[in-house]
């Protein structure tokens, strides 16, 4: 029941996503079905002037239209306090539309062009308990703004959960007439009389009309807030079932299943005791109890048990919720004050109680008293069949989950063991969002080397674990550019290669001495392969993106592939340029302690660039985060596997005790005739082993099919080998024998005289 409750809370949390916002029913996001080079994508990044265009033509349909920059990290500073915080640049109606709950100031605060709204927790971090209104804060060490409001932190199940500040959109310096730059989201709130489908149809061609000269096609539509979280997967412009929805189905089914199994087990265990209780029933009937009274008695018993179970499950859920939140990456709490929760809980308890109690109540009470008292009562030969089916079902699920867990963990381990192409340990990275970083870089380098704990320092324009730049149009000497063939591009300083420790395979690294290197590029192996180059070093590449001065580039080296994106995908084909960037990489000397090194680096860093917080990240830890989703699946699978095994064992134990009880006489006879304890144990266990083997035969093809499908998602994937199935099957057999043996041995060592005397 506790598990069903946990899953229920989780599904409730997923389904109530964004409901925090009062205008939930009317808030929409402008989405764009794009088509370019034969590829169809659906996304929400749009050019800035589209906002005004919509306002001008369809203003009467919308209450608010607000352009927003995606949630990004910026340095927010007040005095010596500096923090890297995620936030949005948004137009003035946003706070009203999102119904932010204000702690200080009003939602209108954003109308001031040099203002900022802070989340309550950020305000506390900056100003402790002082009144934050009218205080000045600085964004990215450049823009001073005044705090005009503080809003309550947005809940974890809001689209804007990471937003800790909202700054006026005009501060973002976006070009208001640039239809070529797709970099903004547009949120809107419909007027009460506007129907979403009609407005969607009206705005459909607005973007394509305005961008006639551009490549590609556009088709706009509105997506209601209720669909943002769970229904945002599109393939070829058609909404497809998202991973989240699949998860909800998956866990919903597991929850219902766990509950059903538990109910059936409860029934099972109580009917297994039926032969013992039969006498009680016979006596009760003999002394005049009506059948209805017996039914009432059994229902009361099961309802009382179910109520206790409900109370106990509340305690258990309260106890394990913090752990579950950690695994599921959520902030769920028991909904103590939600009447629906209690209604659901009580309905649920009542139903469980009735369901679990019905079989014993109706079946046991129908026993004929005379037959029971004479001792001739025997359950029919086939009463064990439903129990056997149940055991098979339970073990099928258990084995499937055991196999699933092993394969998920093997996939994670496989990707973790993959060589990343550079050296992660002792490498830290800091994003330096400061306008004067370029000027101060050399000074910073000198300062860091002075500490004596730094082996190397370099810069690049992207983090090494998340390299986003992609460019096409490279005309190789051997052959011209191929349409749609794009390369991951990154600008680095000369020391980058040595700092991150990549492996040069051909040619050389960038050099400080050779000024000609500014027109040199380095490729990785995948890029060489994709470009189809033989002997790449020394070849010339023509690349004319417009904004680069030198369009003739010379390949000076080839390096091994580095895993910069998903560890489950092939390495990006990369073209590496000489340049700058605001990502700083520091390689710590191998023979120094990390802790003291960090404090020395921090001192040096703060001395040179005081405006930026020293918010370092270890590259290996950042890389580890890429496995979070898979590890979550793995942990949940393990949790459910253990649970399923546990429940199955209870079911099995129930069946074993039932069978042992039912076959007591038979065992007695066999023992009188000379059967040994071992042969009785064998006899009793054999039937269960057969059931588990049947389960294996059902579970294995099913899991193979399902997990093979799951693994197809990953281009870099482990193989499903036979030993995984063998292990899971053997594990299930061992568990079965262990569970059954208790009853089997108990039955086998019982004195046959006793079992025969009851006749």
């Amino acid at each position: 029941m506790a598990v069903a409750m946990l899953i229920g809370l989780w599904i409730f949390d997923e389904l109530s996503f964004n409901r925090y916002h009062k205008n939930y029913d009317r808030i929409v996001k402008v989405m764009d079905h794009q088509g370019m080079h034969g590829q169809n994508n659906t996304n929400d990044v749009l050019p800035v002037p589209l906002g005004d265009a919509l306002r001008a033509s369809y203003g009467s349909d919308f209450k608010y239209i607000t352009i927003s920059r995606e949630t990004e990290e910026h340095v927010i500073a007040s005095g010596d306090k500096k923090f890297i915080q995620a936030g949005n640049y948004m137009q003035a109606d946003a706070p009203e539309m999102l119904s932010l709950e204000m702690v200080y100031g009003t939602r209108a605060g954003l109308k001031d062009h040099s203002s900022i709204l802070l989340s309550h927790s950020l305000a506390k971090k900056l100003f402790a308990n002082a009144d934050p209104l009218d205080k000045i804060v600085q964004i990215d060490a450049t823009t001073n703004v005044k705090v005009t409001g503080v809003f309550k932190d947005l809940p974890d199940n809001s689209e804007f959960r990471t937003t800790t500040f909202i700054a006026p959109f005009n501060l973002f310096n976006a070009n208001k007439d640039d239809w070529n730059n797709y970099n903004m989201s547009i949120f809107a709130q419909l007027n009460t009389n506007a129907a979403i489908d009609e407005v969607s149809a009206k705005i459909r061609n607005v973007l394509s009309d305005k961008t006639k000269g551009q490549e590609g096609t556009h088709e706009l539509f509105l997506q209601p807030m209720s669909k943002w979280h769970l229904y945002s997967s599109f393939e070829n412009h058609v909404a497809v079932t998202s991973e989240q929805i699949k998860f909800i189905w998956f866990y919903g089914i597991i929850g219902a299943f766990v509950l059903l199994l538990a109910c059936i087990n409860f029934m099972n265990l109580s009917t297994a005791r039926s032969e013992k209780r039969a006498l009680e029933i016979g006596v009760r009937k003999a002394v005049g109890s009506a059948r209805s009274q017996l039914i009432k008695q059994f229902y009361t018993e099961s309802l009382v048990i179910a109520t206790f179970a409900f109370i106990l499950s509340l305690c258990i859920v309260q106890f394990i919720l913090p752990w579950f939140n950690g695994v599921a990456d959520k902030e769920m709490t028991i909904l103590w004050v939600n009447p629906w929760f209690w209604l659901a809980g009580i309905t649920f308890t009542f139903t469980t109680g009735l369901l679990a109690g019905s079989y014993p109540a109706l079946y046991l009470s129908s026993f004929h008293p005379v037959r029971i008292l004479k001792g001739t009562f025997r359950a029919g030969r086939f009463t064990a069949v439903p129990r056997k089916v149940l055991v098979v079902v339970q073990f099928t699920v258990s084995i499937a989950l055991i196999i699933g867990t092993i394969i998920v963990y093997r996939q994670i381990q496989y990707a973790k063991d993959r060589p990343v192409g550079y050296s992660q340990s002792g490498l830290i990275t800091i994003q330096v969002k400061s306008p004067d970083f370029n000027q101060k870089y050399e000074a910073l380098k000198a300062e860091l080397f002075n500490t004596g704990v730094v082996a190397n320092v370099a810069r690049a324009n992207y983090s090494i674990t998340d390299t986003r730049g992609w460019n096409g149009g490279f005309n190789w000497e051997a052959r011209p550019a191929i349409e749609g063939q794009s390369f991951n591009t990154i600008s680095v300083t000369q020391e980058y290669g040595e700092t991150v420790g990549w492996q040069v395979i051909q040619g050389r690294n960038f050099s400080k001495e050779l000024t000609s290197d500014s027109a040199g590029i380095i490729l990785n192996e995948s890029a060489v392969k994709l470009a189809g180059l033989k002997d790449p070093v020394g070849q010339i590449v023509k690349w004319e993106p417009g904004w680069r001065k030198n369009s003739h580039l010379k390949i000076i080296g080839v390096v091994s592939d580095m895993v910069k994106g998903s560890p489950f995908k092939p390495a990006y084909p990369s073209v590496i340029f000489l340049g700058n960037g605001n990502w700083l990489f520091v390689r710590i000397n191998t023979n120094t302690s990390i802790r003291s090194a960090l404090s020395k680096i921090e001192t040096g860093f703060k001395k040179t660039i005081p405006t930026v917080p020293f918010d370092y990240k270890f590259v290996d830890e950042e890389y580890g985060l890429k496995f979070a989703a898979e590890e979550r699946i793995g942990k949940l699978a393990a949790f459910f596997a253990i649970l399923a095994v546990f429940i199955s064992c209870m079911g099995l134990f129930g069946l074993a005790s039932y069978v042992a009880e039912q076959r007591k006489k038979e065992i007695g006879i066999r023992k009188v005739l000379g059967a040994s304890v071992f042969s009785v144990w064998k006899q009793l266990s054999k039937d269960f082993i057969i059931l588990v083997i049947i389960s294996c035969f059902i579970a294995i093809p099913f899991t193979w099919y399902f997990l093979n499908g799951w693994l197809q998602k990953y281009e870099y994937r482990t193989e499903i080998s036979w030993w995984i199935f063998a292990t899971a099957g053997a594990g299930a057999l061992v568990i079965t024998l262990f569970t059954v043996s208790f009853q089997a041995i108990k039955a086998a060592i019982a004195n046959p005289v006793k079992s025969l005397r009851t006749e």
Binding site: E666, G674, E759
Partner: protein, 225 residues
């Protein structure tokens, strides 16, 4: 064949101590047919269980074929039992899930007789008991008399030296009862020792000797003529 001397068996629960056998001394010779009689609770069934090596005495001596078996452990008792003793119960105690043939075959399986040999011996004994035509039926498809014949067949299939019968006619009508008693008498005439617990004076008259028990002791022995 059997000599028990000063045999004691006491059943204890938390509050009550019941003396089932009180320094009992009995001797049964090979080839004898002995009936044990007495009121309920006199210790007949306890005696039969001990004689059948299903239960062990608290003290006293139990010589079986000249061997002291009172202190035998479970495994040794089981081994001795399955080779030497056959049982016939009041309520037949056939296994409902097995056919007549399989029920009779069971003791042979436990003594490790080969399948072909088993088939031969089971068929022979079923023939002798005149239930060959019922070999593939299940116990519940048979009449009480037929079931008891199957039980007797099972008891003798191993050619035991001793048959212990616990009220073998208790659940049968008189004609079926007489038939079973005749079977036992025939077996006895062929050399098998039989010890039978019974409430029925009529059945007891088939035996050579009646031992009457009360409160765990023999009170009287009648020699039948």
């Amino acid at each position: 064949m059997i000599r028990i001397t000063h045999l004691e068996k006491v059943y204890r629960t938390d509050e009550v101590e019941t003396v089932a056998l009180n320094k009992l001394t009995i001797e049964v010779k090979e080839g004898e047919f002995v009936a044990i009689m007495g009121p309920s609770g006199c210790g007949k069934s306890t005696l039969l269980n001990i004689l059948g090596l299903l239960d062990d005495p608290d003290s006293g001596s139990f010589m079986f074929n000249g061997i002291e078996v009172a202190k035998f452990n479970e495994r040794k008792r089981a081994d001795l039992r399955k080779r030497n003793i056959g049982f016939v119960f009041q309520s037949f105690n056939l296994i409902d899930e097995l056919t007549v043939f399989e029920n009779v075959e069971l003791p042979l399986i436990y003594t490790g007789v080969k399948a072909a040999e088993r088939k031969k011996r089971v068929e022979a004994v079923l023939d002798k008991m005149q239930i060959m035509h019922r070999r593939n039926h299940y116990p519940q498809q048979l009449s009480g008399g037929q079931q008891q014949r199957v039980a007797v067949a099972r008891a003798v299939v191993n050619n035991p030296k001793l048959i212990l019968a616990d009220e073998p006619t208790g659940n049968l009508d008189s004609s079926n009862g007489n038939e079973v008693m005749q079977l036992l008498t025939d077996l006895n005439e062929q050399g098998t020792t039989i010890i039978m617990v019974t409430h029925s004076e009529h059945d007891a008259r088939y035996s050579h000797r009646i031992i009457r028990m009360l409160d765990g002791q023999t009170v009287l022995e009648n020699i039948m003529v």
